[in-house]
């Protein structure tokens, strides 16, 4: 094995003592190409201290991100970086970019390790690469955590190789050379751009080498707030999403869907008539409904509305909010610790169905031919999509090319490949390429949801201590069938979490208890109802943590303490307290507010990252009863401070952006956004029905504080603050109105819109748009 070591800088300590070395590869290629294997380390368990220690839960020993990282190690393929003759480098990231900024983060890692301007790093999204197995899954806030070392290792190999190549050419010691901004310089005045060395540095054969990574003290780019690399494309309209791609003959295609979830087509009364409508080229029945292909999406909408379909039953036809809630309550696992010799708080919380619909609806392009297929879509599990599509079409896996396209948001939705599978089925049935788009109404009603759940909590306390904390979370089954199931379960079987199923694995791995509450148990039970479900940003945590933090406010009140003081006292780690204190300081905890307004504070720890959020809410009638057409005004969060400690913030600007998103998600979950299930279908069919946070709901004052690096390792951050924000909004609301809320979102009991018809499944586009110009 060759050993590549980059030049040491003055004052640097011996890498043998201080630095870990990582294995990378030089690849045989015409210009310098380097690679590393994906994989990672298992972190040590976090120590618990103070108050009555809770035994570390499974998520304290190993969390979901670790499990994904661990699972990846034995089978992972290589990820490669290529140096081009023009001095730029190219890297195809095996992840999806859906707005979370992963391409920018990865480009920063490469630019940092190589001392290259960020503009010289090109990062695009890799096609499905079956050999990566589950290493090509975007989820669990795990992307940066799993790619941090491999990407840097590959770049470090390239760096070392460039130095050696230049040193040989100039007959000097590589240790005397310096690198910056894509140029190598010698003491005697030689200079060479990386591009000029791209061929000379290429390796004739593939070999394993070791490389030493930059010391964090040398970072100049990691940790610097950096604008996204795709920002210019986004503001000029050049950024291309699936529906913007021009694939020859892939005409607009939509599906006429049933009035209940998973309903099926019995017959179509007017197939010929609809086929003859203007612009329409094809109408065929498929497993999810009746597919229509036309010259424009407008003509697809008209055709979908014109279809007269006799629908067979679906899978949850009789279910309503009330019936689901009843089933959940019946299935709730018992609380075990009786309140003997202690005082006790018992509480139950109900969380409505919520939609993980992105602004880009489900969509995909498919071109299926007899001997192969090509698919384009925003996919977080592209390998699973490729396998499923190949199986459905009866094609060998390599005959199905799956391109991962930049997605217009995901929030869990794109873990599943519903549109890609459907587009492939339709393209095969029609024998033509299709550009399939879901209507907004379909995306809301038939798209995947985060299902209803009930959380029951009992906390026993005595003599100034919380002696036991039990949480029983009961949820409609969440579908994790996007392919990592078997793998993760296999890994989980080796962990100290006992013999549990896959959902329980995710639950246990994601739910840690950051407070010393004595004997702590958090259990999940699921009720298998056949809704379309999926994870939503931050999965179980928003509901679980919201319930917990509300109970903490109750405990604090019962024990005569301020909510902040109480949390400070019971948090397990100083790192947690630092985050909480920062939120309290910046948010001016305890400041005077008028009646009807209050502050709330909440904490959440997950993905090896900590977050605390402080919110101020205005529940005064003049605010709640603001008149806004087709909207829920309601209580207004007027001010939010979110503090995040992500271990090592690589791009604080990106982390801040993600946290702003989390704050708005949390506010929506607490106050306004939910689905109402009515006879097997959500009633919501529009953004004026599903009340995600809008400008009139968002806090006019919002501040995000990114804590300086605490651990040197990046934690997950894209979802982290959803839970703490939801909880902070709920706690603030409870304190403002003087009563703990127990049903979420708080406006769910009132239907604040006129539901659109279920047949036809999509509304007509209005014609009066010019009446609203401004």
């Amino acid at each position: 094995m060759a050993h590549q070591r980059r030049s040491r800088r003055p004052g640097e300590q011996s890498p043998a003592l201080e630095r870990r070395r990582f294995l990378g590869y030089l690849l045989a290629a015409p210009t310098l190409a380097v690679a590393a294997r994906l994989g990672g380390d298992l972190a040590a368990p976090a120590p618990a201290s103070a108050a009555i220690p809770s035994l570390p839960g499974p998520a304290d020993i190993i969390d979901l991100g670790d499990a994904l990282t661990l699972a990846a190690a034995p089978t992972s393929g290589l990820i490669a970086i290529q140096l081009n003759r023009d001095g730029s480098v190219s890297f195809a990231v095996p992840r999806a970019e859906v707005g979370q900024g992963i391409t920018t983060t990865i480009a920063m890692l490469i630019a940092e390790e190589l001392d290259l301007p960020l503009s010289k790093v090109g990062v695009n999204l890799a096609d499905a690469r079956p050999e990566l197995v589950f290493n090509q899954l975007t989820g669990g806030s795990n992307s940066v955590r799993s790619l941090f070392h491999p990407v840097r290792t590959a770049a470090a190999v390239a760096r070392a190789r460039l130095l050696v190549t230049a040193a040989e050419q100039w007959k000097v010691d590589p240790a005397t050379l310096t690198m910056s901004e894509g140029v190598i310089r010698s003491r005697s005045g030689h200079t060479a751009s990386y591009g000029s060395l791209a061929e000379a540095a290429a390796s004739p054969r593939t070999e394993e080498v070791s490389a030493t990574l930059k010391d964090p003290s040398e970072f100049t780019l990691i940790g610097r707030p950096t604008t996204r690399i795709d920002a210019l494309d986004a503001v000029t309209g050049r950024k291309q999403f699936t529906l913007d791609l021009q694939v020859p003959n892939a005409l607009p295609t939509m599906i006429c869907r049933p009035p209940t979830i998973n309903g099926t087509v019995r017959s179509v009364a007017n197939l010929a008539e609809v086929t003859a409508m203007p612009g329409v080229t094809d109408v065929v029945t498929v497993s999810s409904g009746v597919a229509v292909r036309a010259a424009t999406f407008g003509q697809c909408i008209d055709a979908v509305r014109a279809l007269r379909v006799d629908w067979g039953p679906g899978t949850v036809d009789g279910e309503t909010d009330a019936s689901v809630e009843e089933k959940l309550r019946a299935a709730t696992l018992p609380l075990a610790v009786p309140p003997v010799l202690t005082q006790s708080i018992d509480a139950e919380f109900v969380f409505a169905f919520a939609s993980n619909s992105a602004l880009e609806t489900n969509c995909a392009i498919a071109d299926v031919r007899p001997d192969g297929a090509e698919i384009w879509s925003g996919l977080k599990s592209p390998i699973v999509a490729q396998e499923q599509i190949a199986a459905m079409l009866g094609l060998p896996i390599p005959a199905v090319k799956v391109h991962v396209v930049t997605g217009g948001g995901s929030f869990g939705r794109k873990l599943f490949s519903d549109a890609a599978l459907e587009a492939a089925e339709v393209s095969k049935a029609m024998g033509k390429p299709v550009k399939l788009m879901w209507h907004r109404a379909d995306d809301s009603r038939h798209g995947r949801t985060h299902p209803m759940s009930i959380s029951r909590i009992r906390a026993n306390y005595a003599l100034g201590n919380v002696v036991s904390y039990e949480q029983r979370h009961t949820s409609v089954t969440t579908d994790f069938g996007h392919g990592l199931g078997e793998i993760l379960t296999a890994v989980a079987a080796k962990l100290p979490v006992g013999d549990v199923g896959f959902s329980q694995t995710v639950f246990l791995l994601s739910q840690s208890m950051p407070y010393n509450f004595g004997a702590t148990t958090q259990l999940l039970n699921e009720v298998p109802l056949k809704f379309h479900t999926a994870s939503m940003r931050n999965v179980y945590s928003p509901n679980v943590v919201c319930a917990r933090e509300l109970v903490i406010d109750q405990l604090a009140a019962k024990m005569g303490q301020d909510p902040l003081t109480f949390r400070r006292g019971f948090l397990k780690e100083d790192r947690f307290r630092a985050v909480l204190d920062k939120a309290a300081e910046v948010g001016e905890w305890g400041r005077e507010l008028p009646d009807g307004m209050a502050q709330g504070i909440a904490f959440h720890w997950e993905y090896k990252s900590a977050s605390a959020v402080l919110m101020e809410i205005d529940c005064r009638p003049e605010t709640v009863n603001r008149k806004i057409r087709d909207a829920v005004a309601g209580p207004r969060v007027t001010r939010a401070v979110a503090v995040v400690d992500a271990g090592l913030p690589i791009n604080p600007r990106g982390l801040e952006a993600q946290t702003i998103g989390c704050v708005n998600d949390g506010i929506a979950l607490a106050l306004t956004s939910s689905l109402h299930i009515d006879n097997g279908l959500p009633l919501e069919a529009s953004w004026d029905n599903y009340f995600y946070t809008r400008q009139w709901n968002t806090p006019p004052e919002l501040e995000v504080v990114v804590m300086p690096a605490t651990t040197g390792e990046p934690g997950g951050a894209g979802e982290l603050a959803v839970a703490s924000s939801f909880a902070a909004a709920a706690c603030a609301y409870g304190r403002a109105v003087g009563q703990m809320p127990t049903r979420f979102p708080i406006n769910h009991g009132t239907l604040s819109f006129e539901p659109k018809p279920k047949v036809p499944p999509v509304p007509e586009s209005p014609v009066d748009g010019l009446a609203y110009t401004f």
Binding site: Q240, G409, D665, W687, T698, P700, P766
Partner: protein, 158 residues
């Protein structure tokens, strides 16, 4: 099928399609102008926001037959300076504040913001929190606060 002639981003175009096809699909499916996005098709999400004769509107809810030969449509692709290619101050501000996350809503947000600033000016005021609260464009990534910051930044330069 009938012919429809109008101006898009400074260029005259003619399309042959049904009268009632909404302008959004004429732009996207027939002319290949994909900056305006689909998010609902019912004038709710505002992802398709573009300008007609300098005012914000939503082409998903306007039949192509309602657009006349004298009408000038501007999409996100058409707001940079045609002569120099310089970005519109609103686009610059969006870069400065790094507003976009997934970016899907952002062409519509920028087009709405430009119109909103001009509307406030024509009413003799500067844009305020009350104006922001009237912007209906949804951003499911939740970029609202950066949008507010960017609009304020741009308004100072417009």
């Amino acid at each position: 099928m009938s012919q429809h002639t109008f101006t898009v981003n400074g260029k005259q175009v003619t399309v042959d399609t049904d009268d009632k096809v909404r302008l959004l699909w004429v732009l996207r499916d027939l002319l290949g102008i994909t900056g305006p996005k689909y998010g609902c098709g019912i004038n709710v999400c505002k992802a398709c926001t573009s300008h007609i004769n300098g005012k914000a509107f939503n082409p998903c809810s306007v039949p192509v037959s309602a657009i006349g030969p004298d009408d000038e449509i501007t999409t996100i692709e058409g707001i940079a300076d045609p002569a120099t290619g310089a970005l519109h101050p609103m686009q610059e501000a969006w870069l400065e504040q790094d507003v976009a996350q997934c970016g899907y809503c952002q062409p519509g947000q920028i087009m709405a913001a430009i119109a909103k600033v001009k509307q406030a000016r024509s009413e003799g005021r500067e844009i305020s929190d009350a104006d922001f609260d009237e912007i209906r464009n949804i951003c499911r990534c939740g970029t609202y606060s950066r949008i507010r910051d960017a609009v304020r930044t741009a308004a100072a330069k417009m």
